[in-house]
């Protein structure tokens, strides 16, 4: 091993270590920012070391690519709104997958054109795996972006024989991969242009990525984004196997692990298996008419006005706010924080209960509230709030529905049975800010709205909070 090669390898080792230390610092908000910078520094080391590589003969294309990519990345990172963070991460995942897939493609073409030695079996398998995972991540992420951005319908897109079609495409992909791996050695499939088979593999993999994500509903996006995050890491790791490059393997494995952990947490938060999320087409258009037959209206609930809510909150000792995605849609986070500040100034203890799937990606609601200057020390997980929720004077539910539906706890036949919820119905009083009695994403009625200790304040969340805030100020 020459001096340059040794330098590069040691630099890669250093950057792998720094990636791990950077991620470790993400375990506390106090050190997280330094951790992210450390990881960015590690990336810089890896890039600088790579540029020493003796097989790099010209730098024009590299410089052009880095400048274009850096400009686009910087603009996107600066302009994106916090509500749009899930689609932003989806797009970045997609680009990561594309880069890994293209690296694998270049390796394949070098073998084909004879500019690189015939690959070992392992390397050939790794190239195919990198292509498949990279392409699926790319197209799947673009569909996820489209759904989150509202370009593609949020509802699951289903068609007859969906699983069979997907299964056949997958089999075709596997067949193409096997052919591409064994053909150069055995002479099997001689006469079949292997580069065409390889391009076919790309088409099939891109198609599979699209077909796997379109049947998944908008409320299940946290799982999909987490899973694609994991794939983007695995694609990088596969490229690392193909290039025999350890920093790619280690970094890819770290991201793969991170995505898998988040996927598992999100599935648990909905009490659903990963298979059910991917194939279950949850959240199709709500069925007409409820099973009970009786259509309940606003007359059946305890409908209140801003004044009543203000009185209840201002004279409470303990208040728990339960935000849902509807809060972000109404852009009411800042007004909500003002209301919480007012209450605290009056000596009310205010806490926020954050359900893991309250946003469109893991931790999304926490970021939205942080943007509105809510200190993270006020944010609680549901298992911290539920045990003594009966001593809470008032729960304020804003734009949440399924995540506070007692049916998840009480009705074993409910589609959301077993899903952890914020048990707001056990608090002394519960106020729900909502436009109407329409069901949430799961398409089921919410018994909470009709409970004796519940009050409904109908209207746009932002308007309602402003009105409550004004009333509280006058008290």
């Amino acid at each position: 091993m020459g001096t340059i090669e040794l330098t590069i390898q040691l630099a890669y080792l250093l950057s792998a270590v720094l990636f791990i230390l950077g991620l470790k610092r993400l375990s506390s908000p106090a050190t997280a920012r330094a951790g992210n910078r450390l990881a960015a520094f590690a990336m810089l080391i890896a890039i600088a070391a790579t540029l020493l590589d003796e097989s790099i003969l010209s730098y024009e294309w590299i410089i052009a690519g880095v400048i274009i990519g850096a400009l686009i990345g910087t603009v996107m990172a600066r302009l994106v709104k916090m509500t749009e963070m899930p689609q932003m991460v989806a797009v970045f995942n997609g680009f990561g997958g594309l880069a890994s897939g293209l690296v694998a493609a270049a390796e394949f073409l070098r073998f084909q054109l004879g500019t690189a030695p015939t690959p070992s079996l392992d390397a050939a398998v790794a190239v195919m795996a990198g292509t498949l995972i990279g392409a699926v991540t790319f197209s799947g992420s673009l569909v996820a972006f489209g759904k989150l951005q509202g370009i593609v319908t949020e509802r699951p897109v289903t068609y007859p024989m969906q699983q069979v079609v997907n299964g056949l495409i997958f089999l075709a992909i596997v067949a193409a991969m096997v052919l591409l791996v064994v053909a150069p050695d055995s002479g099997a499939g001689s006469g079949v242009p292997l580069d065409l088979v390889y391009y076919g593999l790309w088409v099939g993999a891109l198609l599979l990525g699209v077909l796997l994500v379109i049947p998944i509903g908008g409320a299940d996006m946290p799982v999909v984004v987490s899973l694609l995050n994991s794939y983007s890491g695995l694609a990088a790791a596969a490229a690392g196997f193909a290039l025999n490059n350890n920093v790619l393997i280690i970094s890819g494995a770290l991201v793969g692990a991170s995505g898998l952990i988040l996927t598992r947490i999100m599935c648990k938060a909905m009490n659903r298996s990963l298979a059910n999320v991917i194939f279950g087409a949850f959240g199709q258009a709500p069925k007409a008419g409820t099973e009970s037959g009786e259509k309940r209206t606003k007359a059946d609930v305890n409908s209140v006005q801003a004044e009543d809510v203000a009185m209840l909150l201002a004279y409470a000792t303990r208040v728990v706010i339960v935000p849902g995605y509807g809060l972000a849609v109404a852009q009411a986070q800042h007004k909500l924080r003002e209301l919480a500040d007012q209450l605290e100034a009056r000596g009310v203890e205010v806490r926020y209960a954050i359900h893991p799937v309250a946003g469109r990606m893991p931790g999304h609601m926490n970021v939205l509230l942080a943007e509105a200057n809510v200190p993270y020390t006020q944010l609680y997980e549901i298992e911290d709030v539920n045990p003594d929720i009966q001593s809470v004077d008032a729960c304020l539910v804003v734009g949440a529905n399924d995540t506070v539906n007692p049916a998840a706890r009480d009705d074993p036949d409910s589609p959301i049975a077993g899903m952890p919820i914020v048990e707001v119905d056990r608090a002394k009083h519960c106020v729900v800010l909502k436009r109407s009695l329409s069901p949430g994403f799961a398409g089921i009625d919410n018994e909470l709205f009709y409970a004796r200790n519940s009050m409904m304040y109908f209207g746009d969340a932002a308007d309602s909070i402003v009105k409550i805030l004004e009333e509280v100020k006058q008290l």
């Binding site: 991620l23 993400l26 908000p29 997280a32 951790g35 992210n36 990881a39 890039i47 790579t50 097989s55 790099i56 003969l57 730098y59 294309w61 590299i62 690519g65 880095v66 990519g69 686009i72 990345g73 910087t74 990172a77 600066r78 932003m88 991460v89 970045f92 680009f95 990561g96 594309l98 880069a99 890994s100 293209l102 690296v103 493609a105 270049a106 073409l109 500019t115 995050n229 790791a237 290039l243 490059n245 790619l248 393997i249 280690i250 970094s251 890819g252 494995a253 991201v255 793969g256 692990a257 995505g259 952990i261 988040l262 947490i265 990606m361 926490n366 970021v367 942080a370 200190p375 944010l379």
Partner: protein, 97 residues
Amino acid sequence: MSGTILVSIYVFVLAMFTGFEVITKVPPTLHTPLMSGSNAISGISIVGALVIAGLGEGILFSIIGTVAVIAATINVIGGFLVTDRMLRMFRRDGEAN
């Protein structure tokens, strides 16, 4: 199976375990920054892309390599910047922003 690939598999499996250990300790409140930050790390494939873009083995490789460099750079730069932007907003009770 060659010795090289065996070593690679060792590295991969051990890195996965390290990842699980480190990331399990990240609190839910930081899950979005974790995701965007780890996402930026997956842009490490830029390392492979740079070599391809600089090979000088013909226009095909230059184009594939450059597209890969652009995609990976967006991923890396965008990912780290947006993570920093988010983490800047997290504050404790009573801290000035």
